[in-house]
């Protein structure tokens, strides 16, 4: 039974993508909506991304410093490890998981609310392709803004590591900067951006799907919002693994 449902939703989700990417009725309206969504996703999530990244960077530095204590590994390696961990894994994955909770649940609730209040029906009757009008701007905004947020998260994370370790005397500023500048491989940044792009798409598409096809009342809307976050998180982690396999092969 679960398998049938899973296949049904997967098929429905794939077919729905075709409707989302059909020709817009009015480019200007779609453009305005995309800008609004970019603002909501980008500026609206900056504070939480800043807060989380700074602590993730700080904790990573403190814990690596603890683990390296008394070993023969040179101290500047901590800067190098923090940088690569942040860029390759922590910034894209943690930021996207947080965004799935903040932005994804909001999208599911917003679109689901529109479904329940007959706003979507009203647009359909006017002749609007609601799948495209409600979802395409959000998808474009997310795949543009999530990479920007992830870049910011990576930078802030490294700064957090510096702030948490250098002033507290875990290691010197020179060691940290040397570590951050050592063995830099721009391919890692490429990997981070690929992840951010894919995760941005997943969290938006899955959340919008949950909201768009919601049926019932407020309890179902709450459940759809929860599913949006849970499924997005699972798919993000799965995609993370697949991208890691493919891009490091």
């Amino acid at each position: 039974m679960l398998d049938i449902k899973l296949f049904y939703h997967f098929g429905s989700f794939v077919l729905w993508q075709k409707q989302i990417f059909s020709r817009p009725e009015n480019g200007r309206m779609y453009y305005k909506e995309t800008i609004r969504q970019m603002y909501d996703i980008g500026i609206g999530s900056l504070a939480i991304v800043f807060l989380i990244s700074i602590f993730i960077g700080a904790v990573t530095a403190v814990q690596f410093s603890y683990q390296m204590e008394g070993t023969l590994v040179p101290p500047y390696y901590i800067g190098y490890i923090v940088r690569d961990m942040t860029i390759i894994e922590l910034a894209p994955t943690i930021t996207s998981l947080v965004l799935a909770g903040k932005v994804g649940s909001n999208m599911a609730a917003e679109i689901g609310g529109m479904r329940q209040k007959e706003h979507i029906d009203a647009m359909e009757i006017m002749g609007v392709n609601t799948s495209a009008f409600l979802v395409m701007p959000r998808l474009i905004a997310a795949v543009l803004m999530v990479p920007v947020l992830v870049c910011a998260a990576a930078f802030i994370g490294i700064m957090g590591a510096y702030i948490a370790s250098v002033p507290t005397g875990l290691f010197s500023s020179a060691d940290f900067i040397k570590g951050v500048r050592s063995f830099f491989d721009s391919y890692n940044v490429f990997m981070m951006l690929v992840k951010a792009f894919v995760f941005g798409y997943i969290l938006t598409a899955v959340s919008c799907y949950q909201g768009y096809f919601v049926k019932g009342g407020s309890i179902e809307l709450g459940a759809a919002s929860t599913r949006a976050v849970v499924y997005s998180n699972i798919l993000i982690l799965l995609a993370d693994y697949i991208i890691a396999l493919v891009l490091t092969a």
Binding site: N26, M29, K117, E118, H119, E124, M126, G127
Partner: protein
């Protein structure tokens, strides 16, 4: 003119509509009446294209909505306006933005032309000057009128109203009914109203179809309602104990 041709609709094993055929005429207020659960809303949703029938056809003049091409449906949609039971006004937009929305989406009018058209529509529903208010800042009756203004902003040929009087007091209901009827006459629109409000039936019912358990139980004009002997019609019209007592007293 809209013609429903042998419409059936099944949800799983439950047959909600059982072969409804009816012609909704242009320039008249066509009413779909019936008790709750009779299948009125399902029929209206099929007529407007929000639901697909299990079988049957829906003709908009000479276009069959059921097997029309995407392009034909897109063009047809621009000729359709709808007033929803819950108004379906966009909460985050002002009244002006709500009414402008179809124009923003589908026309190349200038900003001034759009504003003029909005003002004209608001004037038509006697709500001039509320352009900058939000739906939550006006009463239920006013929201209905804004819904009508939005429905007529693109000069539709077909107007659908789902329970336009629900949640309104009798006086406001009469105003809304009168407004819909006037707009129908002025622009020779095919208006279809889904209602179970007997005041509306007796005021504006020019072409009525009574749905009972998914079947067309009766059709006719408001003047025939009180005289007709149809049992289903009688059950529906005189369902109110107050009305029944009144009739008995007159008798």
């Amino acid at each position: 003119m809209i013609r429903a041709e042998n419409i059936t609709k099944e949800f799983g094993s439950q047959q909600v509509l059982k072969g409804i055929s009816f012609t909704f005429e242009a320039g008249k207020t066509n009413l779909i009446i019936g008790q709750s659960g009779a299948g009125k809303t399902v029929l209206l949703k099929i007529l407007v294209g929000l639901l697909q029938p299990t079988s049957g056809n829906v003709w908009y003049d000479n276009i069959n909505l059921i097997n029309a091409s995407k392009e034909e449906v897109r063009k047809l949609r621009l000729k359709v306006g709808m007033l929803f039971q819950g108004n379906a006004l966009f909460d985050s937009m002002t009244i002006e933005e709500n009414i402008r929305f179809p124009m923003d989406m589908f026309t190349t009018l200038t900003a001034k032309e759009k504003t003029d058209r909005v003002n004209l529509c608001l004037e038509r529903v006697s709500l001039s000057g509320i352009n900058k208010k939000y739906p939550s800042e006006i009463s239920g009756g006013m929201q209905k009128r804004v819904g009508i203004a939005r429905a007529i902003v693109l000069n539709p040929l077909y107007l659908f109203c789902d329970e336009p009087n629900s949640g309104l007091d009798p006086k406001t209901s009469i105003t809304i009914d009168k407004l819909i009827q006037d707009i129908t006459k002025e622009n020779n629109i095919t208006t279809i109203i889904n209602t179970h409000d007997m005041n509306s039936v007796m005021e504006i019912g020019e072409n009525i179809c009574l749905i009972d358990k998914g079947l067309l139980a009766w059709k006719g004009h408001k003047d025939e309602v009180l005289r007709d002997e149809n049992e289903k019609l009688h059950d529906f019209v005189f369902a109110s104990p107050f009305l029944q007592k009144l009739i008995d007293a007159v008798k």
